[in-house]
Subunit: 360 residues, 2 copies
Amino acid sequence: MTAPSNIFDCSKDETLASLGEQTVLKRLQKFCSQEVIGDDGAAIFWRSPPQPNGINSQDAGDYSGNHSGDYLVVTTDVLVDGVHFSDRTTPAHSVGWRGAAANLSDLAAMGAEPVGLTVGLALPGSTQWRWIEGLYQGLKDCGDSYDAPIIGGDLCRSSVATLSITALGRAGRSHLIQRSALQPGDYLIATGIHGASRAGLELLLNPETGKNLPEIQRKSWIRAHQYPRPRLDWLPLLKMAEREIAGMDSSDGLGDAVVQLARVSGCGVELWGDSLPIPKGLVGWVGLETGREWTLYGGEDFELSMGMPEEVIKELNCNFPISYYVIGRAVMEKGVKLVEKEGGRAIANLSLDQGFQHFS
Amino acid sequence: MTAPSNIFDCSKDETLASLGEQTVLKRLQKFCSQEVIGDDGAAIFWRSPPQPNGINSQDAGDYSGNHSGDYLVVTTDVLVDGVHFSDRTTPAHSVGWRGAAANLSDLAAMGAEPVGLTVGLALPGSTQWRWIEGLYQGLKDCGDSYDAPIIGGDLCRSSVATLSITALGRAGRSHLIQRSALQPGDYLIATGIHGASRAGLELLLNPETGKNLPEIQRKSWIRAHQYPRPRLDWLPLLKMAEREIAGMDSSDGLGDAVVQLARVSGCGVELWGDSLPIPKGLVGWVGLETGREWTLYGGEDFELSMGMPEEVIKELNCNFPISYYVIGRAVMEKGVKLVEKEGGRAIANLSLDQGFQHFS
């Protein structure tokens, strides 16, 4: 039995609050298909149904094993008013955009091209049509940017606005990007800066704190929070790699992503403090300590965190004009350490507990 | 502008409550892919992604047109505590079963074989683990019965328990069953009795009203409410038909389904009062008037309502040992009429407004 840990617990029995979201999700895995490859989403081998004329358009296969055929990739996010969005920080259009972006980011982290989005909506009766319209416009605008049309949904009433967005994608290989593929010696890379979304949230919640910041900086961070961009632009590059790439998206924070990659892969990581992808101007505004914290644990940047060997990085450099940050290196010794610089003094240990967890 | 129509409306602007769920859903269609074939779910043509070696496992195609290839079929339902389920009527296991069954019924109504289910859950922190476990066991038990494993999901906290279930399926043809295919002269058939789920609900809400009913009757109706069975068993039969079949599932009531089939197809229907699929013993318990009402508008029976020409029915009779009810016939003149019997006196007009609508 896990001891009750917060005020939601109002019984002797185990509850969602006493167990925590992660423990419950782990327990629920026993109900899920064991043949599904789960990382940021689920990938299942696409079997064609028997055709009326008895001919299959594709060879039948079983779900298990590593097929080179088509995979249907599925990912679901639930967003709740007051937890994942609010009128103070996110207009309806941004709620829709972020909802779509979060799921498309999971597709990117699975190496899957978008097929479409479905939207399950539960809304209070008092919700204005303009808000619903704005939400859908945001979903559509983000979806349209990444070839992910809205293909279905449902709507009903509830006292709390709740969105459940499912993104569907397809991948030619199941294992294009995998959490467990990190190997000692791999370089850790981040596809962009981290912490800008957290900075934008701060500016939205406490606008006065940013009154001395340049207008362009404020706008850029608020935009990072309200309109994140899933990194589907990396897919063509990753398809070129001959080895499996270790990776996941950094929606729960860069620190969380690196710790998970290391843990699942059974190795460790040294993150280089002088190479963290801290947004320009952030340290000047909030100081180094908070700047690092937001970069590692701010969350919702929707970039990719990946581990890859030197030769893949060289290939990237030669063939693609895309920028990224080399932020550390995988090592044999387990655990994730923040060191001052490559080969430098250890500053801190990173763990999942410190991560940005919505419901702890 | 639609006039405000109920107490939820607390502003001059249009709200979900003032417009109603159906109007809002209709307006939201403009945001959705126009290339998707929408009935009970969405069907989209499955295009293979380019393979790393440059070879596609399937010919590429565009989304439009009537392909004979593979279709991914998607359907989503949102269920809210106090609206779609409650502790009084549905234990956790039944909530899960019903959630899965409702979506699998939509797949059946699209002629699609199940691929899997995803579950987006928002639950109060005080929700007991036992309830969550029961819910998932119910989802899994129903899913396992129809080859639809749970392949993904998300969990977060909210003050109102909300489930968003998405079912994925695949179909070899896009138009196996279509709402708009009803033609004058077609016979209307129902795949089973209707009203048993409503009767079961009554027994759960007001047990004393059923105290004189035989035990076996009570149990059977309660079971119909808590453990409906989607009619995926009809798929092999429908695949044999050479013509498109008009049909949809009757989750919102048999009357609602027939009215929608007639309206979308631009014809009318005469329903035969003496042939309605009223559960045995129901009229004796609640009288003819209420018995008919529950059969036509009780809802949640999750049967299929279909229109088909005489030759398809003959084919069915010859080749398949499956029972069904012939309940009426499509006619040229628009509107749906309940007549005493085939060729008999009209008793009532049926319309969508009278239908079982969760949120009116």
